[in-house]
């Protein structure tokens, strides 16, 4: 079978995260070292347990994955429509940046229009009103109804 086994990636990331967590304990939990594993009252106890558990499970997962690969039963990472996934993640990041620089409401209208178009919706007579109405409703509900000051954008300050 070709392609990547996602379990290898999970094991690799979990293993790295476990090592990083354990290595960071002396720096990120004041006055504590890995010796705190013997002291249940220490603030470092739970982070060490979590890091250790993650490390052990990463090794177990890696071992399981090797066994399943040898048996020809390994998982394969599949993306049915990779372009769509990239589009949606790009929209998330774009909306995040847009909300910071030009405000959430204005950037929402653009994000809705672009994402819906990217997902294959072509009826502009409906798309444009929806792209305008949804942010308007959010503005009315949050800002006027719930008195939440939504991000207005640093460029307009």
């Amino acid at each position: 079978m070709r392609g990547i086994n996602p379990e290898f990636i999970v094991a690799l990331i979990a293993g790295s995260l476990a090592v990083a967590t354990l290595a960071l304990v002396p720096y990120q939990v004041p006055g504590e070292t890995l010796a705190a594993i013997r002291n249940l009252e220490s603030p470092a106890f739970f982070p060490i347990i979590a890091g250790g558990l993650m490390g052990i499970c990463a090794v177990l997962l890696a071992a399981n994955t090797v066994a399943s690969e040898r048996a020809g039963q390994g998982l394969r990472l599949t993306f049915e429509q990779p372009r769509t996934v990239v589009l949606v993640i790009a929209t998330y990041i774009g909306l995040l940046l847009g909300a910071h620089y030009v405000g959430l409401i204005a950037s929402s209208a653009v994000a809705i229009a672009l994402m819906a178009w990217g997902l294959g919706y072509r009826n502009l007579k409906i798309l444009i009103p929806v792209a305008a109405l949804v942010p308007a409703c959010i503005y009315l509900l949050f800002q006027k109804g719930l008195f939440v000051i939504l991000p207005g954008g640093v460029l307009f300050r």
């Binding site: 890091g51 998330y92 929402s108």
Partner: protein, 503 residues
């Protein structure tokens, strides 16, 4: 302690303010609207709508959220019946017979039966909740930090049931949840942990934006990846439910309700399991099992009664012990905590008025569900037709606004987006998300109660074996874990069947 009817009456008086019924009604309407859209899960809907409640009085906000939960479970059957695409996993069994009835031109009958079975089961489930919660809480009130530590340890073992096929993967997700919960100030000493000098991280990772990310934004990514189908709405007029139909399914509804109630109480199981078990039991006991899967009104009623009966009793572990039974109650727990209400046995002492108002509003919501559902069901069917290409971007924007609104913090939007992308990748790699959420929710309480217990015993673990209730719980926990490991070992080392080579 038995049910205090005086408190329940006071609960009714408290919600008779106009705003609570309005909140419950709006929650129900929102839940039914969202639930009728194929693919919008109950978890996703509750996650999206929970930030709205933070600006409401708990007496209004909590009934709103419970209305959402009930509405979405009920209306998930609409697309299952009409287009054979369940609105959420809890309506999967409904589609088996519901869609066959639609094909026979009896969509109206199927929709009405699904509503009636849901309302009856939900009402009975709510009555069980009201009668069971307080006596259980009176036992839990005798608990001290050691007993709570063991209770949290029990709840953590739920990770095993939520891990799917791979325990290491479930434990990796749980460890990630523990690490997320450790970020911020240490609950006992006040020391900063894993904040990297960031002011935003000092207060810890806000849970509700994280939940919005891992459940709602990741779902948007998953759904956008699937082919976006266009549906054709079938005819929804025609034959309706008769009294003879109701008489025929009465016992099926009662039996399915009993099963749903029991499954709801069990941690790690909810409406999506209840519908199948109730359906299976109904088929076994039916005089006409051959009709199941071919348009049986009994099968439809069983599935709907099973999933709706589990909704109120799903709340029992959360209300009584402060531990979530599944992912939806995990989000509800987060919403309660954001309101300053910490579910658990002390809730019956500190916030009994809110609790009984909640019970009263659960009963009220059922009545509203019947009336609203009966009138609106023919209009809700049109929601099935909303194009997902328009819906998903709108959900995304609501998630962004909701994440920000909780703490007025831009950092929370970053948490939600990160949670969304990580949640999506976890789901693609078949790494279960619920253990992460459960661990993140339980770790602060687990850590505090463990360390308090050790302070009480001068650091000795004997405190978990010398107190009577704690000793029973420790024994049960150890026995349960030993049994689980034995079963897992047996399964792993079971003799594999020998393959015979044939020519």
């Amino acid at each position: 302690m038995i049910l205090d009817f005086g408190k329940l009456y006071e609960g009714f008086l408290l919600i008779a303010n106009g705003w609570t019924p309005l909140g419950a009604f709006l929650g129900l309407a929102a839940g039914m609207l969202v639930g009728a859209v194929p693919g919008v899960t109950a978890t996703m809907a509750v996650a999206i709508l929970s930030p709205f409640t933070f600006f409401m009085n708990p007496i209004v906000g909590i009934p709103f959220l419970l209305g959402v939960f009930k509405g979405i479970i009920t209306s998930g059957s609409i697309p299952a019946i009409l287009i054979n695409t369940p609105g959420n996993a809890s309506a999967a069994a409904t589609g088996l017979d519901g869609f066959m009835l639609t094909r026979k031109g009896e969509a109206r009958r199927a929709l009405e039966m699904s509503l009636y079975a849901s309302v009856v089961a939900d009402m009975l489930g709510t009555v069980v909740l009201i009668f069971v919660a307080e006596p259980l809480a009176s036992v839990a009130l005798k608990f001290g930090p050691p007993e709570f530590t063991l209770l949290f340890a029990f709840a953590m073992t739920m990770v095993a049931t939520l891990s799917g096929t791979s325990i290491p993967k479930g434990l990796i997700a749980a460890a990630l949840g523990i690490l997320i919960a450790c970020i911020g100030l240490d609950p006992m000493s006040g020391y900063e942990r894993f904040t990297f000098g960031s002011i935003e991280l000092t207060g810890g990772i806000s849970l509700v934006p994280l939940l919005i990310g891992v459940f709602a934004l990741s779902e948007v990514l998953i759904q956008s990846e699937q082919r976006l189908a266009n549906y054709i709405l079938p005819e929804t007029r025609g034959r309706r439910v008769t009294l003879a139909d109701m008489r025929r399914v009465a016992w099926t509804i009662v039996r399915s309700t009993g099963l749903g109630v029991w499954i709801g109480i069990l941690p790690g199981m909810g409406a999506e399991t209840a519908c199948w078990i109730a359906y299976g039991a109904a088929k076994q006991r039916s005089k006409h099992p051959e009709e199941f899967g071919k348009g049986s009104i009994e099968g439809l009623a069983a599935a709907e009664a099973g999933n709706n009966a589990s909704v109120p009793t799903d709340l029992i572990p959360m209300i009584v012990f402060g531990i979530p039974g599944d992912t939806v109650t995990a989000i509800l727990l987060g919403a309660f905590m954001a309101q300053g209400i910490h579910p658990g046995p002390l809730m019956f002492v500190k916030h009994s008025e809110i609790l009984y108002a909640m019970f009263a509003s659960l009963l009220l919501t059922n009545v509203l569900l019947l009336g609203f559902g009966y009138i609106m069901i023919r209009y809700f069917v049109r929601i099935v037709l909303i194009p997902r290409a328009l819906l998903l971007p709108s959900v995304m924007v609501i998630c962004f606004a909701g994440s920000f609104a909780i703490n007025n913090s831009f950092f929370d939007i970053i948490v939600a987006v990160t949670g969304g992308i990580v949640g999506y990748l976890m789901r693609k790699a078949e790494l279960p998300v619920p253990p992460l959420v459960i661990a993140a929710l339980l770790t602060p309480g687990f850590e505090s109660s463990l360390r308090r217990s050790l302070v009480m015993s001068d650091g000795s673990l004997s405190i978990f074996f010398t107190r009577p209730i704690a000793a029973v719980m420790s024994t049960a926990l150890i026995a349960g874990l030993a049994y689980y490991l034995w079963k897992a070992g047996q399964k792993r080392f079971a003799k594999k069947p020998t393959l015979v080579k044939t020519q």
